[in-house]
């Protein structure tokens, strides 16, 4: 049996949806190694490029808030864009959701503004909101965790 490009695409999708970082598949005569994004840690940056450019101080740690550790048993709802996160439809109105709210896949949980364009963000998961991370009106990055949701046990 051989793998078609479509099969590989399907396997990549499975890996992306999983909680694993890499996948190795061995079957008669072939081997497939997949790794989730390019996240090999750079243990040591080179002196010419990096260290010499520094002014004697060690480079600061990256502060990107994308990809924070997730909490066991909870689902992360991440930001689909970089933009300004709003919890209310309009200033002064009640928030779309609060801690304790029940959400469904289609429930709007907030708005992300990208240059005056308002994009409503659906929860994408079903369950109870446990934590709302960004402040109203703050900048969120692509992939930043907006909410943590306790999934509803299947009936």
């Amino acid at each position: 049996m051989t793998l078609t490009a479509k099969d590989v695409a399907e396997i990549i999708k499975l890996l992306e949806q999983s909680r694993f970082d890499s996948l190795s598949l061995e079957m008669d005569g072939m081997k497939l190694n997949l790794q989730r994004s390019c996240t090999v840690p750079v243990s040591q940056t080179h002196n010419n490029a990096a260290a010499q450019t520094a002014t004697g101080v060690p480079p600061p740690q990256p502060t990107s808030k994308a990809r924070p550790p997730s909490k066991p048993g909870l689902l992360d709802v991440t930001s689909p864009f970089l933009g300004i996160f709003y919890r209310t439809p309009k200033p002064g109105q009640p928030p779309f959701i609060e801690v304790g709210s029940k959400v469904e896949e289609g429930t709007v949980i907030g708005i992300i503004e990208v240059m005056k364009l308002m994009n409503s963000v659906p929860a994408g998961v079903k369950g109870e909101v446990v934590e709302i991370l960004p402040e109203n009106g703050s900048l969120v990055e692509y992939g930043e965790v907006l909410l943590r949701v306790r999934p509803e046990p299947s009936p």
């Binding site: 090999v40 940056t45 490029a49 864009f81 970089l82 240059m115 364009l117 990055e141 692509y142």
Partner: protein, 454 residues
Amino acid sequence: MTIRRILIANRGEIAVRVIRTCRALGIETVLAASEADLDSPPAKLAHRALCIGPAHPSESYLKADTIVQAALGVRADAIHPGYGFLSEHTALARLCEEQGLIFIGPTSGQIEAAGDKLRARSEAEAAGVPTVPGDPVETTGEALALGREIGPPFLIKAAGGGGGRGMKKVDRLEDLPEAMELAAAEAGSAFGDTRLYLERFITRARHVEVQILGDGQGNVVHLGERDCSVQRRYQKLIEETPAPALSEDFLSRIRAAAVQFAERLAYRSAGTVEFLVDLERDAFYFLEMNARIQVEHPVTEAVTGFDLVAEQIAVANGQGLLLQQENIRPEGCAIECRLNAEDPAHNFRPSPGTIRSVVWPSGEGIRVDTHIGPGACIPPFYDSLIAKIIVHAADRASTLERLRLAIAQTRIDGVATNLPFHAEILADPEFEKGGVDTSYLPRFLERRRVLPEA
């Protein structure tokens, strides 16, 4: 206005390069990075990295709205676009202008004037800068009349497109009508536009470009030229300054033409005016203007001692030109090799992957611009440039010698690179002699194919 925080809308070695100058100037940096670049060296070197979107450039580095929103969100004063991506799109420059952000580069109007080929050509003519003889042609009669005027060989191009399609070389005047018919048909099916452009074909050409810097008020200085004739499929591989085997008188005329062109646009920031040197007619023609910092800018920095990114920032800051023409005195020779993660043994196909180990050269007169260290990953989504090795010495012979040693010191394991190919070119007597034309690299490759190494 004082620039205190710059958002860098780029990645790779140029992001590292811009951060280095910002650090020296005490300016904070925020890197707008795609998901694939969040662990990259520039993301670690910057004061802050922001994830602007998924790996694919169309969802991250090419999104002007998102990048401007990111700059506003972190209260950056300015955006540095680097090269490629949005650096020469009017969209980013214009959005910055609308939002009161400083765009470290030319105005959106200047980007437009430089980017449109016909517009740039007419600006060159208006500035008194020579262009390749040619014109749009509609009928066979027009083509023959123009052909008689400029003389063979000719090049017929599609007015509405690029990439070689609809392009035909014609050696004799009498062959023009038939070639035009074919080219019009090809252009029509490729671009939906049958308009043609006829110009003189330059048989033996060199690519010489001039680095300029303008304050946006009409004051322009040049920082000498770069010869970029060693190209494969219009991709530059080796660049050097000064341009070898051209007289000082000829070069000073090219430099003056570049300044004239930039003055006409009242150009702001660093830019490059590219020329084609016609070796058979001892003439030069305006090719295009690159309205950005270029990959090969370090060779100019090596011989002049100036930091072009710092000059860009000074102009953006409203400080005007810090340099005066009489204080720019290039010394010696500099040559740059572009190291790409591509495999010369397999028709230069890209070879993304993870770098196992790497040794960069070091020593007097050697500079390495890179974002690559051991364990670094070369994602498949972006261009394959992994490093530039720039060497400076008193004259061309000693620069070449130093560069050969630098290339020999370099080791990159984990991905295939064009490093051995550079070593071969640097050892080739024709390149060593200096002044090769743009047909050199294709000929070199052909020779190499016919006579494989023992």
